[in-house]
């Protein structure tokens, strides 16, 4: 069996000219969706720890990926990415989704105010709680954010499939990226629409995040509704052919 370089690797934003097989060195390769990078460029690895793992401890896939990275050019790190301990991938994704009209500063300030208000509320409840309950209260706003997002992620989704002129809602599995996206999207739509006009975004967000952390609130309700619909439409699951 051939090792190493005969495996075929390709990013999703590339369309093939005329041929059907995926290969990074095929002619007729055209970058679609307007990436300024040549399709050969690979994504950067910004986490310091991953670079310090010695080669012997890597698995076979990771070793092959490292081999590939030594011979390929790498894209530049984005301007919101950094190797510092304060950089969080999920928080940065959520900030970008919350941003409107390119106002990153505003989005970031809302995020930091949200975390501050979460922390304040939790500290308040920590001081009010009895000794036995103090251990159960989580004060780290990042952990609360991650847990809330996990709780909001739907397990199964619905797609519309047309059969005999009528469109049915068919339950489908979702990829990780899609689940994360849906969770964030629901949080944001909930906080933007269902609020009093004088409540600020950071207050509303902190309320919603704390509720999601405790498996309550409108976003969790929406997730459960989706699950119920999927369960109800179980009969149509065989309509899916992929």
């Amino acid at each position: 069996m051939a090792a190493g370089g005969s495996s075929l690797v390709m990013g999703s934003a590339v369309r093939l000219g005329r041929c059907c097989r995926l290969n990074a060195w095929m002619p007729g390769l055209v970058p679609v969706r307007g990436s300024r990078y040549n399709p050969y460029y690979l994504e950067p690895e910004i986490y310091k720890e991953r670079h310090q793992i010695p080669v012997t401890e890597l698995g076979p896939e990771e070793a092959a990926a490292l081999e590939l990275r030594t011979t390929r050019p790498i894209k530049a790190a984005l301007s919101h990415q950094s190797s510092s301990v304060f950089y969080d991938f999920l928080v940065s994704k959520f900030t970008n989704m919350m941003m409107l009209k390119g106002q990153k500063l505003l989005s970031r300030s809302i995020m930091s105010k949200t975390f501050e208000s979460i922390k304040r509320k939790q500290i308040e409840s920590y001081h009010k709680a009895s000794e036995s309950e103090k251990d159960a209260i989580e004060c780290n706003p990042y952990k609360i954010f991650h847990q809330a997002l996990e709780n909001c992620k739907p397990v199964i989704g619905l797609t519309s499939i047309q059969r005999g002129g009528k469109s049915y809602q068919v339950p489908t599995p979702l990829t990780d990226n899609r689940r994360r996206f849906l969770a964030m999207k629901w949080l944001l739509t909930e906080c933007r629409e269902n609020r009093h006009r004088r409540t600020h975004m950071n207050e509303r967000l902190s309320q919603e995040l704390l509720a999601a952390f405790n498996n309550e609130g409108n976003v969790i309700k929406r997730k459960h509704d989706l699950h119920k619909m999927a369960e109800a439409n179980r009969a149509f699951a065989h309509f899916r052919w992929w």
């Binding site: 090792a3 002619p27 990078y37 301007s79």
Partner: protein, 383 residues
């Protein structure tokens, strides 16, 4: 022309009393007269070699090479260089000096290169005097390509035969050394065309690659390793392409290094000094006042934090043009490049894989006519 002469003299012989001068040796003439009776005339009418639409004959190219070599020596004499050791760069410089040209297209300017680089490689005549082609696959139209495919498939069948022999003996096993293909790539379509001196289509190229991959999927493919490696090219390590400047030392013996970086329209130059305490000055102002936002300051610190050198260096930056984020990105690239002089090779490779050493190619897309912006179209109105 000579053949016509023979036929003419044959005709004239029949009509006797001809006093035309025959400047041909008689025995040859007689033997040719005998030959002429049975053969068809079409084969003798044209010079078969010349029907090939050969752009440049071999003699022509040889002559060009001689002229080039003589011309090189003349040029060396003119420019005061040594005729024996004059190189292509010296020739280019001399031509640019002697024939200065302000033509916009670089390819339209006068060049003096070896004829083999200028005239495209073309195949010699593929058939002999009698018009029969040498290669048995000539009439396929792509003889080198198809003969290559036949050879490759022959190797494939040989591997299968070898495996069958082993199976008969009972020595067949699946754990055998595979061919090491890491760090190499398949040759590109252009390289294959160069190798075959023939034009091939995309589908042909892909079929050839598929055939090779099929060959590699056999367990005992390592017996034909040499053959397969002919079609692999080494990929050089990207980290070797980084230009690392040497450390410089100022009067007090403190090491420093300079770096330049660009991002969108912003351009930055940076001096990173050793034995510092993490002070960063941008355009004479402290970085805390120049970049009030946290994201930009994180970008400035990214390279240092990645290398665990946060409080060890002082940085002095000058940056102009561009916006806030663009300036921060330019300083980040410049400081990464400056830091290359202080660190080991492994750390250089880690930095490259973290994306710190690649200049970001994303720039503002131009507005197109007929649209409101780069992508946004005008509002569609039904009437």
């Amino acid at each position: 022309m000579a053949a016509r002469g023979w036929r003419l003299c044959a005709f004239l012989q029949r009509c006797s009393g001809c006093s035309m001068a025959m400047n041909v040796p008689t025995p040859v003439r007689m033997s040719l007269l005998v030959r002429l009776i049975g053969t068809s005339s079409c084969l003798h009418k044209k010079n078969m070699a010349a029907t090939f639409h050969e752009k440049y004959t071999e003699e022509f190219i040889k002559q060009q090479i001689e002229e080039f070599n003589i011309g090189k020596r003349h040029l060396a004499n003119m420019m005061g260089e040594d005729p024996e050791t004059i190189g292509q760069e010296d020739i280019d410089r001399a031509i640019r000096y002697l024939f200065p040209s302000g033509v916009f297209d670089k390819k339209a300017r006068p060049i003096m290169k070896h004829p083999l680089e200028i005239f495209p490689k073309q195949r010699a005549v593929q058939w002999g005097e009698d018009g029969r082609p040498f290669n048995y696959l000539f009439y396929t139209g792509k003889q080198s390509y198809y003969s290559l495919i036949h050879d490759t498939y022959e190797q494939f069948l040989n591997i299968q035969m070898y495996e069958d022999q082993l199976r008969d003996k009972g020595l067949f096993s699946l754990d055998c050394k595979p061919i090491n293909l890491s760090g190499s790539r398949w040759l590109t379509k252009e390289e294959l065309e160069e190798m075959l001196v023939e034009h091939i289509s995309d589908q042909d190229y892909l079929y050839f690659l598929r055939l090779l991959e099929r060959m590699l999927s056999l367990p005992y493919c390592s017996i034909k390793e040499e053959y397969v490696l002919k079609f692999r090219r080494r990929m050089e390590d990207q980290s070797k392409k980084q230009i690392i400047e040497a450390l410089q030392f100022d009067e007090s013996g403190v090491a420093f290094s300079k770096g330049e970086g660009k991002r969108k329209t912003a351009k930055a130059t940076v001096i990173v000094r050793d034995h510092g305490s993490g002070n960063i000055t941008v355009n004479g102002v402290d970085y805390l006042f120049y970049f009030p936002s946290l994201q930009e300051r994180e970008q400035l610190m990214f390279p240092f934090q990645f290398l665990n050198r946060l409080g060890m260096h002082d940085m002095e930056c000058t940056v102009h043009s561009g916006g806030i984020s663009a300036q921060a990105g330019a300083i980040r690239l410049a400081s990464s490049r400056a830091l290359l002089s202080f660190i080991t090779e492994k750390e250089v490779e880690s930095m490259r894989q973290a994306g710190l050493l690649t200049p970001d190619p994303r720039v503002r897309e131009r507005k197109k006519p007929g649209q409101e912006g780069a992508r946004r179209k005008f509002t569609w109105k039904k009437r």
